[in-house]
Protein backbone atom coordinates (compact mmCIF):
# COMPACT_ATOMS: atom_id res chain seq x y z
CA UNK A 1 0.00 0.00 0.00
CA UNK A 2 1.13 3.54 -0.76
CA UNK A 3 2.05 5.83 2.13
CA UNK A 4 -0.79 8.14 3.16
CA UNK A 5 -0.28 11.78 2.21
CA UNK A 6 1.21 14.44 4.47
CA UNK A 7 -2.31 15.82 4.78
CA UNK A 8 -3.57 12.51 6.14
CA UNK A 9 -0.71 12.36 8.64
CA UNK A 10 -1.57 15.89 9.70
CA UNK A 11 -5.18 14.94 10.29
CA UNK A 12 -4.07 11.99 12.41
CA UNK A 13 -2.57 14.56 14.78
CA UNK A 14 -5.81 16.24 15.77
CA UNK A 15 -8.76 14.57 14.04
CA UNK A 16 -7.84 10.86 13.81
CA UNK A 17 -11.47 9.85 13.54
CA UNK A 18 -11.52 11.47 10.10
CA UNK A 19 -8.76 9.19 8.78
CA UNK A 20 -9.59 5.87 7.11
CA UNK A 21 -8.92 2.71 9.12
CA UNK A 22 -6.58 1.35 6.45
CA UNK A 23 -4.44 4.49 6.62
CA UNK A 24 -4.30 4.36 10.40
CA UNK A 25 -3.29 0.70 10.30
CA UNK A 26 -0.58 1.47 7.76
CA UNK A 27 0.88 4.34 9.75
CA UNK A 28 0.98 2.27 12.95
CA UNK A 29 3.27 -0.26 11.24
CA UNK A 30 5.30 2.03 8.96
CA UNK A 31 8.47 3.67 10.33
CA UNK A 32 8.52 6.25 7.52
CA UNK A 33 4.97 7.36 8.27
CA UNK A 34 5.53 7.30 12.01
CA UNK A 35 8.44 9.68 11.52
CA UNK A 36 6.27 11.86 9.28
CA UNK A 37 3.53 11.83 11.89
CA UNK A 38 5.97 12.86 14.60
CA UNK A 39 7.20 15.75 12.45
CA UNK A 40 3.64 16.83 11.73
CA UNK A 41 2.78 16.69 15.43
CA UNK A 42 5.87 18.72 16.24
CA UNK A 43 5.15 21.43 13.66
CA UNK A 44 1.53 21.59 14.74
CA UNK A 45 2.56 22.11 18.35
CA UNK A 46 4.99 24.89 17.41
CA UNK A 47 2.39 26.60 15.21
CA UNK A 48 -0.24 26.28 17.93
CA UNK A 49 2.05 27.86 20.49
CA UNK A 50 3.08 30.63 18.08
CA UNK A 51 -0.50 31.50 17.28
CA UNK A 52 -1.83 31.34 20.81
CA UNK A 53 -2.67 34.69 22.37
CA UNK A 54 -4.28 35.01 25.75
CA UNK A 55 -7.55 36.79 25.30
CA UNK A 56 -9.86 37.63 28.16
CA UNK A 57 -12.60 39.48 26.35
CA UNK A 58 -15.02 41.65 28.32
CA UNK A 59 -18.22 40.56 26.63
CA UNK A 60 -20.47 43.11 28.36
CA UNK A 61 -18.27 46.05 27.41
CA UNK A 62 -17.94 44.71 23.87
CA UNK A 63 -21.70 44.34 23.57
CA UNK A 64 -22.21 47.95 24.69
CA UNK A 65 -19.79 49.07 22.01
CA UNK A 66 -21.50 47.00 19.33
CA UNK A 67 -24.96 48.21 20.32
CA UNK A 68 -23.88 51.81 19.98
CA UNK A 69 -22.24 51.17 16.62
CA UNK A 70 -25.29 49.30 15.36
CA UNK A 71 -27.54 52.17 16.46
CA UNK A 72 -25.40 54.67 14.56
CA UNK A 73 -25.39 52.46 11.48
CA UNK A 74 -29.13 52.05 11.70
CA UNK A 75 -29.59 55.79 11.87
CA UNK A 76 -27.28 56.36 8.95
CA UNK A 77 -29.17 53.86 6.87
CA UNK A 78 -28.05 51.53 4.18
CA UNK A 79 -27.14 54.19 1.63
CA UNK A 80 -24.08 54.93 3.68
CA UNK A 81 -22.74 51.67 2.34
CA UNK A 82 -21.60 53.75 -0.58
CA UNK A 83 -19.80 56.10 1.71
CA UNK A 84 -16.65 56.07 3.70
CA UNK A 85 -15.19 52.81 2.56
CA UNK A 86 -17.94 50.55 3.76
CA UNK A 87 -17.81 48.64 0.51
CA UNK A 88 -15.45 46.09 1.82
CA UNK A 89 -17.53 45.45 4.91
CA UNK A 90 -20.67 45.43 2.84
CA UNK A 91 -19.33 42.82 0.51
CA UNK A 92 -18.71 40.39 3.32
CA UNK A 93 -22.39 39.72 3.53
CA UNK A 94 -24.21 38.83 0.35
CA UNK A 95 -27.36 40.27 1.84
CA UNK A 96 -25.80 43.55 2.80
CA UNK A 97 -23.98 43.60 -0.48
CA UNK A 98 -27.24 43.44 -2.31
CA UNK A 99 -28.32 46.56 -0.51
CA UNK A 100 -24.96 48.20 -0.22
CA UNK A 101 -23.14 47.53 -3.44
CA UNK A 102 -25.83 48.95 -5.62
CA UNK A 103 -26.06 51.57 -2.90
CA UNK A 104 -29.36 52.99 -3.81
CA UNK A 105 -31.74 50.30 -4.80
CA UNK A 106 -34.68 52.54 -4.16
CA UNK A 107 -36.68 51.42 -7.09
CA UNK A 108 -39.55 53.19 -8.64
CA UNK A 109 -42.26 50.77 -9.36
CA UNK A 110 -44.74 51.32 -6.57
CA UNK A 111 -47.81 52.94 -7.97
CA UNK A 112 -48.18 56.61 -7.33
CA UNK A 113 -51.62 57.56 -6.18
CA UNK A 114 -53.44 59.97 -8.39
CA UNK A 115 -52.51 62.98 -6.32
CA UNK A 116 -48.83 62.08 -6.20
CA UNK A 117 -46.73 63.94 -8.70
CA UNK A 118 -43.61 62.15 -9.90
CA UNK A 119 -40.72 64.47 -9.14
CA UNK A 120 -37.68 62.29 -9.44
CA UNK A 121 -36.74 59.33 -11.57
CA UNK A 122 -33.13 58.28 -11.89
CA UNK A 123 -31.93 58.08 -15.44
CA UNK A 124 -28.28 58.32 -14.65
CA UNK A 125 -25.92 58.11 -11.73
CA UNK A 126 -23.20 60.58 -10.94
CA UNK A 127 -20.59 60.36 -8.20
CA UNK A 128 -20.40 63.13 -5.62
CA UNK A 129 -16.97 63.04 -4.06
CA UNK A 130 -15.88 64.74 -0.90
CA UNK A 131 -13.55 64.14 2.00
CA UNK A 132 -14.97 61.63 4.40
CA UNK A 133 -15.26 64.25 7.12
CA UNK A 134 -17.62 66.29 4.93
CA UNK A 135 -19.77 63.29 4.08
CA UNK A 136 -20.20 62.47 7.73
CA UNK A 137 -21.49 66.01 8.22
CA UNK A 138 -24.23 65.50 5.62
CA UNK A 139 -27.63 65.59 7.23
CA UNK A 140 -29.88 62.57 7.02
CA UNK A 141 -33.40 62.78 5.76
CA UNK A 142 -34.86 62.37 9.22
CA UNK A 143 -33.01 65.47 10.36
CA UNK A 144 -35.47 67.42 8.21
CA UNK A 145 -38.73 65.78 9.08
CA UNK A 146 -40.54 62.57 9.81
CA UNK A 147 -40.07 59.33 7.91
CA UNK A 148 -42.73 56.68 8.02
CA UNK A 149 -41.64 53.40 6.54
CA UNK A 150 -44.56 51.88 4.73
CA UNK A 151 -42.72 48.89 3.30
CA UNK A 152 -39.60 47.62 5.08
CA UNK A 153 -36.45 46.58 3.25
CA UNK A 154 -36.67 42.83 2.90
CA UNK A 155 -34.14 40.66 1.15
CA UNK A 156 -34.38 36.94 0.84
CA UNK A 157 -32.55 34.20 -0.95
CA UNK A 158 -34.50 32.34 -3.58
CA UNK A 159 -33.95 28.99 -5.22
CA UNK A 160 -32.60 30.17 -8.54
CA UNK A 161 -32.72 32.57 -11.45
CA UNK A 162 -36.27 31.69 -12.41
CA UNK A 163 -37.57 32.29 -8.88
CA UNK A 164 -35.68 35.59 -8.70
CA UNK A 165 -37.18 36.71 -11.99
CA UNK A 166 -40.66 35.77 -10.93
CA UNK A 167 -40.35 37.52 -7.56
CA UNK A 168 -38.76 40.71 -8.89
CA UNK A 169 -40.30 41.01 -12.33
CA UNK A 170 -36.83 41.67 -13.73
CA UNK A 171 -34.84 39.39 -15.97
CA UNK A 172 -31.85 37.74 -14.33
CA UNK A 173 -28.36 38.41 -15.65
CA UNK A 174 -26.51 35.87 -17.74
CA UNK A 175 -22.79 36.35 -17.43
CA UNK A 176 -20.91 35.63 -20.62
CA UNK A 177 -17.56 34.76 -19.11
CA UNK A 178 -16.71 34.65 -15.42
CA UNK A 179 -13.50 36.42 -14.40
CA UNK A 180 -10.61 34.32 -13.21
CA UNK A 181 -11.15 33.14 -9.64
CA UNK A 182 -14.93 33.33 -9.84
CA UNK A 183 -16.44 29.90 -10.21
CA UNK A 184 -19.59 27.91 -9.61
CA UNK A 185 -23.24 28.84 -9.68
CA UNK A 186 -24.46 32.07 -8.11
CA UNK A 187 -26.97 32.31 -5.28
CA UNK A 188 -29.97 34.50 -6.08
CA UNK A 189 -31.40 37.12 -3.74
CA UNK A 190 -34.53 39.18 -4.15
CA UNK A 191 -35.15 42.64 -2.75
CA UNK A 192 -38.79 43.25 -2.05
CA UNK A 193 -40.64 46.49 -2.60
CA UNK A 194 -39.73 49.25 -0.18
CA UNK A 195 -41.62 52.42 0.47
CA UNK A 196 -41.66 55.38 2.82
CA UNK A 197 -43.36 58.69 3.27
CA UNK A 198 -41.37 61.72 4.28
CA UNK A 199 -43.00 64.77 5.79
CA UNK A 200 -40.88 67.92 5.79
CA UNK A 201 -40.81 69.74 9.11
CA UNK A 202 -39.46 73.28 9.20
CA UNK A 203 -39.32 73.08 12.96
CA UNK A 204 -37.25 69.90 13.01
CA UNK A 205 -34.91 71.19 10.30
CA UNK A 206 -34.49 74.37 12.31
CA UNK A 207 -33.61 72.42 15.42
CA UNK A 208 -31.05 70.38 13.53
CA UNK A 209 -29.47 73.54 12.12
CA UNK A 210 -29.45 75.19 15.54
CA UNK A 211 -27.58 72.20 16.94
CA UNK A 212 -24.97 72.84 14.23
CA UNK A 213 -24.83 76.50 15.17
CA UNK A 214 -26.69 77.67 12.06
CA UNK A 215 -29.93 79.46 11.29
CA UNK A 216 -31.96 78.22 8.36
CA UNK A 217 -33.53 80.55 5.84
CA UNK A 218 -37.34 80.35 5.94
CA UNK A 219 -38.65 77.46 3.82
CA UNK A 220 -40.47 78.34 0.62
CA UNK A 221 -44.26 78.45 0.82
CA UNK A 222 -45.86 75.03 0.94
CA UNK A 223 -42.74 73.10 1.91
CA UNK A 224 -43.42 72.90 5.63
CA UNK A 225 -45.62 69.85 6.22
CA UNK A 226 -45.56 68.76 2.60
CA UNK A 227 -45.22 65.07 1.89
CA UNK A 228 -42.93 63.08 -0.34
CA UNK A 229 -43.34 59.46 -1.21
CA UNK A 230 -40.20 57.41 -1.79
CA UNK A 231 -40.62 54.02 -3.27
CA UNK A 232 -38.37 51.00 -3.64
CA UNK A 233 -39.16 48.55 -6.32
CA UNK A 234 -38.17 44.93 -6.52
CA UNK A 235 -34.63 44.01 -7.37
CA UNK A 236 -32.56 40.89 -7.70
CA UNK A 237 -28.93 39.93 -7.32
CA UNK A 238 -26.81 36.99 -8.37
CA UNK A 239 -24.00 36.45 -5.86
CA UNK A 240 -20.97 34.26 -6.43
CA UNK A 241 -19.72 33.64 -2.93
CA UNK A 242 -18.49 30.05 -3.18
CA UNK A 243 -19.31 29.43 0.45
CA UNK A 244 -17.11 32.25 1.67
CA UNK A 245 -18.11 35.30 3.66
CA UNK A 246 -16.65 37.58 0.98
CA UNK A 247 -18.47 37.15 -2.32
CA UNK A 248 -16.17 37.05 -5.28
CA UNK A 249 -18.66 38.85 -7.48
CA UNK A 250 -22.25 40.00 -7.64
CA UNK A 251 -24.52 41.30 -10.33
CA UNK A 252 -27.56 43.21 -9.11
CA UNK A 253 -30.46 44.98 -10.78
CA UNK A 254 -33.34 47.03 -9.47
CA UNK A 255 -35.84 49.50 -10.76
CA UNK A 256 -34.26 52.94 -10.64
CA UNK A 257 -35.17 55.23 -7.74
CA UNK A 258 -38.06 57.61 -7.92
CA UNK A 259 -39.85 60.03 -5.67
CA UNK A 260 -43.27 61.58 -5.72
CA UNK A 261 -44.54 64.76 -4.19
CA UNK A 262 -47.97 65.59 -2.89
CA UNK A 263 -47.28 69.30 -3.00
CA UNK A 264 -44.17 71.20 -3.89
CA UNK A 265 -42.19 70.48 -7.06
CA UNK A 266 -38.80 68.80 -6.91
CA UNK A 267 -36.93 71.98 -7.82
CA UNK A 268 -38.40 73.88 -4.91
CA UNK A 269 -37.34 71.30 -2.35
CA UNK A 270 -33.96 70.77 -3.95
CA UNK A 271 -33.10 74.46 -4.27
CA UNK A 272 -34.01 75.04 -0.67
CA UNK A 273 -31.97 72.09 0.59
CA UNK A 274 -28.98 73.15 -1.49
CA UNK A 275 -29.14 76.67 -0.10
CA UNK A 276 -28.83 75.48 3.48
CA UNK A 277 -25.63 76.46 5.27
CA UNK A 278 -25.34 73.01 6.87
CA UNK A 279 -24.31 71.31 3.63
CA UNK A 280 -20.57 71.23 3.00
CA UNK A 281 -20.02 73.65 0.13
CA UNK A 282 -18.06 71.22 -2.05
CA UNK A 283 -20.95 68.75 -1.85
CA UNK A 284 -23.60 71.38 -2.52
CA UNK A 285 -21.67 72.69 -5.53
CA UNK A 286 -21.58 69.25 -7.13
CA UNK A 287 -25.27 68.69 -6.49
CA UNK A 288 -26.11 72.07 -8.03
CA UNK A 289 -24.36 70.95 -11.18
CA UNK A 290 -26.87 68.19 -11.76
CA UNK A 291 -29.66 68.67 -14.23
CA UNK A 292 -32.70 70.42 -12.93
CA UNK A 293 -35.16 67.80 -14.08
CA UNK A 294 -34.59 65.33 -11.27
CA UNK A 295 -33.00 62.51 -13.21
CA UNK A 296 -29.50 62.29 -11.76
CA UNK A 297 -28.93 60.11 -8.75
CA UNK A 298 -26.00 61.23 -6.61
CA UNK A 299 -23.68 58.53 -5.37
CA UNK A 300 -21.85 59.81 -2.33
CA UNK A 301 -18.32 58.60 -1.92
CA UNK A 302 -15.28 59.61 0.05
CA UNK A 303 -12.15 60.65 -1.77
CA UNK A 304 -10.00 58.82 0.77
CA UNK A 305 -11.43 55.41 0.05
CA UNK A 306 -12.81 55.32 -3.45
CA UNK A 307 -12.05 56.67 -6.87
CA UNK A 308 -14.52 56.93 -9.70
CA UNK A 309 -14.22 57.15 -13.44
CA UNK A 310 -16.60 57.33 -16.36
CA UNK A 311 -17.12 54.47 -18.78
CA UNK A 312 -19.88 53.12 -20.94
CA UNK A 313 -21.75 49.87 -20.90
CA UNK A 314 -23.71 49.02 -24.01
CA UNK A 315 -23.78 52.68 -25.02
CA UNK A 316 -25.06 53.87 -21.62
CA UNK A 317 -22.88 56.09 -19.42
CA UNK A 318 -21.59 54.13 -16.44
CA UNK A 319 -19.68 54.97 -13.30
CA UNK A 320 -16.74 52.78 -12.33
CA UNK A 321 -15.80 52.77 -8.66
CA UNK A 322 -12.60 51.31 -7.30
CA UNK A 323 -11.37 51.17 -3.75
CA UNK A 324 -8.05 52.88 -3.27
CA UNK A 325 -6.51 49.76 -1.80
CA UNK A 326 -7.28 47.98 -5.05
CA UNK A 327 -9.30 45.20 -3.47
CA UNK A 328 -12.68 46.06 -4.90
CA UNK A 329 -14.28 47.45 -8.01
CA UNK A 330 -17.83 48.11 -9.13
CA UNK A 331 -19.57 49.51 -12.16
CA UNK A 332 -23.08 50.90 -12.00
CA UNK A 333 -25.36 52.28 -14.70
CA UNK A 334 -29.00 53.01 -15.47
CA UNK A 335 -30.77 51.75 -18.54
CA UNK A 336 -34.48 52.04 -19.28
CA UNK A 337 -35.31 52.76 -15.67
CA UNK A 338 -33.30 49.89 -14.24
CA UNK A 339 -30.11 50.27 -12.19
CA UNK A 340 -27.56 47.53 -12.74
CA UNK A 341 -24.34 47.01 -10.84
CA UNK A 342 -21.48 44.55 -11.14
CA UNK A 343 -19.16 44.48 -8.15
CA UNK A 344 -16.61 42.22 -6.59
CA UNK A 345 -13.09 41.57 -5.41
CA UNK A 346 -12.03 42.28 -8.97
CA UNK A 347 -10.25 44.89 -11.02
CA UNK A 348 -12.04 47.71 -12.85
CA UNK A 349 -11.29 46.00 -16.15
CA UNK A 350 -12.81 42.78 -14.91
CA UNK A 351 -16.10 44.32 -13.71
CA UNK A 352 -16.39 46.28 -16.96
CA UNK A 353 -15.74 43.17 -18.98
CA UNK A 354 -18.46 41.29 -17.08
CA UNK A 355 -20.84 44.25 -17.38
CA UNK A 356 -20.35 44.50 -21.13
CA UNK A 357 -20.84 40.77 -21.56
CA UNK A 358 -24.12 40.57 -19.64
CA UNK A 359 -27.21 39.30 -21.39
CA UNK A 360 -30.72 39.50 -20.03
CA UNK A 361 -32.66 37.31 -22.41
CA UNK A 362 -33.25 33.79 -21.31
Amino acid sequence: MRHPTDGTLRRLVDEPAGVADADRAHVARCPVCLAGLAAARDDAAVAGAALEVEVAADVDAAWDRLSRAAAVEGRRGTATAARAGRWRAALRSPVVAVVGAVTLLLGASAAAAANWLPIFHAERIAPVTAPRADLIKLPELDDFGEITVTEEIRIRQVAGAAAAEEASGLSAPRVGELPRGVTGEPAYHVLGRVGATFTFSAEKAGRFAAAAGQTLPPPPPGLDGSQFRLTAGPGLAAVWSQGRPVPAMLVARANAPAAYSAGVPFETARDYLLSLPILPENVAAQLRGFTADGTTLPLFMSVENMTSSAADVGGRPATVLTSRDGTLAAVVWVDAGVVTAVAGSLSADEVLSVARGLRWDR
Binding site: A50, L51, V53, V194
Partner: protein, 174 residues
Protein backbone atom coordinates in the same frame (compact mmCIF):
# COMPACT_ATOMS: atom_id res chain seq x y z
CA UNK B 1 -30.68 64.88 -3.14
CA UNK B 2 -33.08 63.81 -0.46
CA UNK B 3 -34.40 61.09 -2.68
CA UNK B 4 -31.17 59.16 -2.59
CA UNK B 5 -31.43 58.59 1.13
CA UNK B 6 -33.10 55.32 1.93
CA UNK B 7 -36.24 55.52 3.95
CA UNK B 8 -35.74 52.38 5.99
CA UNK B 9 -33.51 51.91 8.98
CA UNK B 10 -30.99 49.13 8.63
CA UNK B 11 -32.67 46.17 10.25
CA UNK B 12 -30.53 44.43 12.85
CA UNK B 13 -31.32 40.75 13.24
CA UNK B 14 -33.11 39.89 16.48
CA UNK B 15 -30.75 37.09 17.52
CA UNK B 16 -27.69 39.36 17.36
CA UNK B 17 -27.24 39.80 21.11
CA UNK B 18 -27.61 36.11 21.85
CA UNK B 19 -25.16 35.10 19.12
CA UNK B 20 -22.80 37.88 20.19
CA UNK B 21 -22.70 36.83 23.84
CA UNK B 22 -22.13 33.20 22.91
CA UNK B 23 -19.59 33.65 20.15
CA UNK B 24 -17.72 36.88 20.92
CA UNK B 25 -14.79 35.38 22.87
CA UNK B 26 -14.25 32.77 20.19
CA UNK B 27 -14.39 35.31 17.36
CA UNK B 28 -11.93 37.58 19.17
CA UNK B 29 -9.63 34.59 19.65
CA UNK B 30 -9.65 33.84 15.92
CA UNK B 31 -8.68 37.41 15.07
CA UNK B 32 -6.10 37.46 17.87
CA UNK B 33 -4.37 34.41 16.41
CA UNK B 34 -3.87 36.38 13.22
CA UNK B 35 -3.08 39.75 14.74
CA UNK B 36 -1.37 38.84 17.98
CA UNK B 37 -3.13 41.65 19.75
CA UNK B 38 -6.30 41.73 21.79
CA UNK B 39 -7.16 45.34 21.04
CA UNK B 40 -6.90 44.90 17.33
CA UNK B 41 -8.71 41.57 17.49
CA UNK B 42 -11.61 43.23 19.29
CA UNK B 43 -11.80 45.88 16.55
CA UNK B 44 -12.04 43.11 13.97
CA UNK B 45 -14.69 41.26 15.98
CA UNK B 46 -16.80 44.42 16.16
CA UNK B 47 -16.57 44.89 12.42
CA UNK B 48 -17.51 41.28 11.78
CA UNK B 49 -20.49 41.28 14.17
CA UNK B 50 -21.81 44.51 12.65
CA UNK B 51 -21.83 42.88 9.24
CA UNK B 52 -23.39 39.75 10.70
CA UNK B 53 -26.07 41.87 12.37
CA UNK B 54 -27.31 43.02 9.00
CA UNK B 55 -27.02 39.63 7.36
CA UNK B 56 -29.39 36.73 6.93
CA UNK B 57 -26.84 34.05 7.76
CA UNK B 58 -28.81 31.20 9.37
CA UNK B 59 -28.36 31.07 13.17
CA UNK B 60 -27.08 27.51 13.01
CA UNK B 61 -24.20 28.60 10.76
CA UNK B 62 -23.45 31.79 12.66
CA UNK B 63 -20.37 30.72 14.63
CA UNK B 64 -18.61 29.19 11.64
CA UNK B 65 -19.47 32.19 9.48
CA UNK B 66 -18.21 34.61 12.12
CA UNK B 67 -14.92 32.73 12.58
CA UNK B 68 -14.26 32.65 8.85
CA UNK B 69 -15.16 36.32 8.47
CA UNK B 70 -12.92 37.22 11.43
CA UNK B 71 -9.98 35.34 9.92
CA UNK B 72 -10.49 37.03 6.54
CA UNK B 73 -10.86 40.48 8.06
CA UNK B 74 -7.90 40.05 10.39
CA UNK B 75 -5.69 38.94 7.50
CA UNK B 76 -6.84 41.99 5.56
CA UNK B 77 -5.85 44.18 8.49
CA UNK B 78 -2.52 42.42 8.74
CA UNK B 79 -1.77 42.95 5.09
CA UNK B 80 -3.03 46.48 4.84
CA UNK B 81 -0.72 47.47 7.65
CA UNK B 82 -3.44 48.78 9.90
CA UNK B 83 -1.50 48.10 13.04
CA UNK B 84 -2.73 50.77 15.42
CA UNK B 85 -3.16 48.43 18.35
CA UNK B 86 0.21 46.81 17.92
CA UNK B 87 1.89 50.20 17.95
CA UNK B 88 0.02 51.05 21.11
CA UNK B 89 1.18 47.83 22.65
CA UNK B 90 4.76 48.49 21.65
CA UNK B 91 4.43 51.90 23.28
CA UNK B 92 3.54 50.30 26.57
CA UNK B 93 -0.21 49.71 26.44
CA UNK B 94 0.25 45.97 26.54
CA UNK B 95 -2.70 43.76 27.25
CA UNK B 96 -0.59 41.16 28.97
CA UNK B 97 1.59 41.12 32.03
CA UNK B 98 5.07 39.77 31.41
CA UNK B 99 7.08 38.22 34.19
CA UNK B 100 10.11 40.24 33.22
CA UNK B 101 11.38 42.58 30.57
CA UNK B 102 13.47 40.01 28.73
CA UNK B 103 10.47 37.74 28.31
CA UNK B 104 8.42 40.64 27.03
CA UNK B 105 11.04 41.52 24.43
CA UNK B 106 11.32 37.93 23.24
CA UNK B 107 7.55 37.52 23.10
CA UNK B 108 6.98 40.75 21.18
CA UNK B 109 9.70 39.88 18.72
CA UNK B 110 8.35 36.40 18.17
CA UNK B 111 4.84 37.75 17.74
CA UNK B 112 6.11 40.14 15.12
CA UNK B 113 7.77 37.30 13.23
CA UNK B 114 4.63 35.17 13.40
CA UNK B 115 2.57 38.03 11.91
CA UNK B 116 5.14 38.58 9.17
CA UNK B 117 5.09 34.88 8.35
CA UNK B 118 1.29 34.79 8.26
CA UNK B 119 1.21 37.79 5.96
CA UNK B 120 3.54 36.01 3.54
CA UNK B 121 1.60 32.75 3.41
CA UNK B 122 -0.83 32.17 0.54
CA UNK B 123 -4.26 33.31 1.73
CA UNK B 124 -5.77 29.83 1.73
CA UNK B 125 -2.94 28.39 3.80
CA UNK B 126 -3.12 31.20 6.32
CA UNK B 127 -6.88 30.83 6.64
CA UNK B 128 -6.76 27.05 6.98
CA UNK B 129 -4.03 27.31 9.62
CA UNK B 130 -5.83 29.90 11.71
CA UNK B 131 -9.27 28.29 11.43
CA UNK B 132 -8.02 24.81 12.31
CA UNK B 133 -6.11 26.17 15.31
CA UNK B 134 -9.30 28.01 16.29
CA UNK B 135 -11.13 24.73 16.58
CA UNK B 136 -13.03 24.50 13.30
CA UNK B 137 -13.27 20.88 12.14
CA UNK B 138 -11.65 19.70 8.93
CA UNK B 139 -15.09 19.60 7.33
CA UNK B 140 -15.85 23.17 8.43
CA UNK B 141 -12.53 24.47 7.15
CA UNK B 142 -13.11 22.61 3.88
CA UNK B 143 -16.54 24.19 3.43
CA UNK B 144 -15.27 27.67 4.27
CA UNK B 145 -12.36 27.55 1.88
CA UNK B 146 -13.89 25.56 -0.93
CA UNK B 147 -11.42 22.72 -0.39
CA UNK B 148 -12.00 18.98 -0.24
CA UNK B 149 -11.77 17.70 3.36
CA UNK B 150 -8.81 15.59 2.26
CA UNK B 151 -6.78 18.59 1.16
CA UNK B 152 -7.37 20.58 4.36
CA UNK B 153 -4.72 18.50 6.13
CA UNK B 154 -2.26 19.09 3.31
CA UNK B 155 -2.92 22.83 3.34
CA UNK B 156 -2.60 23.10 7.13
CA UNK B 157 0.53 20.97 7.09
CA UNK B 158 2.18 23.20 4.47
CA UNK B 159 1.29 26.32 6.43
CA UNK B 160 2.69 24.91 9.67
CA UNK B 161 5.84 23.81 7.96
CA UNK B 162 6.32 27.24 6.36
CA UNK B 163 5.59 28.99 9.65
CA UNK B 164 8.12 26.87 11.48
CA UNK B 165 10.78 27.41 8.83
CA UNK B 166 10.21 31.11 9.05
CA UNK B 167 10.56 31.08 12.84
CA UNK B 168 13.66 28.89 12.71
CA UNK B 169 15.30 30.99 10.02
CA UNK B 170 14.94 34.11 12.12
CA UNK B 171 15.90 32.36 15.32
CA UNK B 172 19.17 31.11 13.81
CA UNK B 173 19.99 34.46 12.21
CA UNK B 174 19.43 36.39 15.44
Amino acid sequence: MAVSKPPGRAAVRPDLEQVFRTAYPRVVAVAARVLGSRNEAEDVAQEVFLTFGRSAVPSGEAVGWLCVAAAHTALNHLRSGRRRASREEAAGGSDRVYPDVADAVVTLDERRRVRAALARLPRKQALALVLRHSGLSYAEVAAALDLSPGSVGTTVRRAESALREELNRHASSD
